[in-house]
């Protein structure tokens, strides 16, 4: 396909986070530079290791340890453009950038993740925002919450998920588990009432895991309020109010706001759905609207968790399908919705869950029968979670395969009899 009369193909990747970076690096490795140009666009140069945000409020890590330059994670031969995106015109294969320039593409990869839309919940960003009402889902919020926890002298701490979908659906539960640990360490657990307030009918989206995680909440004396659809956050009155009129009182609220796709997606006719996510085939990641558009990670509207592990597993299929599309070959439909999450449970332990579109999280071991224990608290899983951060920067983003971790969900260590 020609661009400006030159016979060069151009892959434009919108977003330089987990999905955009690992896709760009893998594609660069595959295609010679004189045949295919690769351009990554992002509005800033801050690549956040998002799993680290959970640990910031408890003083277990600092933001300067989890933020690096986006450009520095991209291999040579990849162009990095730092500018906001205005919109995409999928009919003319053109990205309009906020600096007024245009970028035409042969293939577009949408990898711009999800954003927090705090303003969609009444009262959430009112006068008590960042004083009594916080989120740990971005760097500023996690940092402010750290100070708030240090100054907290007891009372009702409420953790609230406004509505799904959210990034890493286990993170708010992990926050509860770590809060229990934190207040025990500071000797004030008996003065803190912890409550988890969720729109779901249980602790988690998947039944088997929901049962085990619900049990852990109970064990750690965290109250569970279910089917609560937050309609309003009354900061000064210290109340969450649901659409059906129920109330939960708080002295300190940790709220996971509504999520949406990047704002340019909604400004791009035909590209996204009502929430700004890009509908793609759940097995090939190709857009339903246009064949030369693909999406990866949180930006993609596929029925699995919005999580870094999912993005990582999607990467292999995405890169293969961009290659096949450019070679005019039939696409690879092998993405199975694989997700793999370490769930930090406090006191140096963690749980591991592994599942896909069709298989619930099962007990057993990962990836084979002598591996990490699944759906069970262990020290080994906690170490696995800690070990993951260096692997993220040095193996996953550069596009190397992680030893023992495959894109397709492994079945060998799982106990399939255990499903109830």
């Amino acid at each position: 396909m020609a661009n400006d009369g030159i016979m060069t193909k151009r892959i434009v990747i919108l977003g330089g986070g987990t999905g955009g970076t690992l896709s760009a690096n893998r594609l660069r490795h595959f295609f010679p530079e004189d045949g295919v140009e690769i351009v990554v666009v992002d509005q800033n140069d801050d690549h956040v290791y998002q799993p680290g945000l959970l640990f910031v409020p408890f003083g277990l890590t600092h933001t300067d340890e989890i933020v690096r330059s986006r450009g520095d994670q991209l291999h040579r031969g990849i162009e990095f453009r730092q500018t906001p995106i205005e919109r995409v015109d999928i009919d003319s294969n053109t990205v309009h950038l906020a600096d007024g320039s245009e970028l035409t593409y042969t293939v577009l990869v949408v990898a711009s993740g999800s954003i927090l839309v705090e303003e969609e919940t009444e009262g959430l960003t009112g006068p008590s925002w960042m004083e009594k009402v916080f989120t740990f889902y971005d760097v500023a919020g996690a940092t402010a919450l750290h100070s708030a926890l240090e100054g907290f002298d007891g009372g009702r701490l409420v953790v609230n998920v406004v509505d799904m979908p959210i990034k890493c659906p286990v993170a708010p539960l992990e926050f509860c588990f770590l809060a229990d640990w934190y207040f025990q360490q500071t000797g004030m657990r008996d003065r803190v009432e912890l409550t988890y307030v969720t729109p779901l009918d249980g602790a988690f989206t998947r039944p088997a895991a929901s049962k085990i995680l619900g049990g852990l909440l109970e064990e750690k004396d965290v109250h569970l309020v279910t089917e609560f659809n937050t309609g309003e956050v009354d900061g000064s009155g210290g109340r969450l109010i649901s659409y059906d009129g129920r109330e939960v009182g708080f002295d300190l609220a940790v709220v996971v706001p509504l999520h949406g796709g990047a704002s340019y997606v909604t400004r791009s006719p035909g590209l996204g759905d009502e929430l700004g996510f890009v509908p793609v085939d759940e097995h090939t990641l190709q857009s339903a609207a246009k064949r030369n558009v693909f999406a990866i990670g949180d930006a993609a509207g596929v029925p699995t968790s919005k999580a870094g592990s999912v993005t990582h597993f999607e990467g292999e299929v995405l890169v293969e399908n961009v290659r096949r599309f450019l070679a005019d070959e039939p696409l690879d439909g092998s993405f199975d919705g694989h997700a793999n999450c370490f769930i930090e449970t406090g006191f140096g332990k963690a749980l591991l869950i592994d599942f896909n579109y069709d298989t619930e999280p099962l007990p057993g071991h990962f990836p084979i029968s002598v591996g990490l224990p699944l759906l069970k608290e262990s020290r080994l899983n906690h170490l696995g979670k800690l070990m993951f951060q260096p692997l993220y920067w040095h193996s996953l983003l550069p596009g190397r395969d992680l030893p023992g971790v495959s894109s397709a969900m492994p079945t060998r260590g799982k106990d399939f009899q255990a499903t109830s």
């Binding site: 509505d163 799904m164 089917e227 659809n229 309609g231 659409y243 059906d244 009502e274 029925p303 699995t304």
Partner: protein, 105 residues
Amino acid sequence: MSTTTYADTAVSVNDEGFFEDPSQWTEAMASEIAKEQDIDELTELHWQVIKFMRSEYAEKGTGPTVRVLGKTSGVSIKELYQLFPKGPAKTAAKIAGIPKPRGCI
């Protein structure tokens, strides 16, 4: 799965009372299903939501969630809860004779 009767017609519903086959539904059944959900009378606004649920299902294969409903149906989330106090997405889907909306994961 079990069978129940609305507007003198037998239909298949699942354990939670959602239609197994939306083509079995007729408008005449709606008010009967609504009464089971403690909604005595279906107003014009109720019908706007019910018809929207059915067209979304026909187009996308699943009914919308309450958040999407608030953005696209022309009725705000607050009003939706006034119309369907037991939960707009689930209740409206039930009355509209479509399966339970696939929640997000």
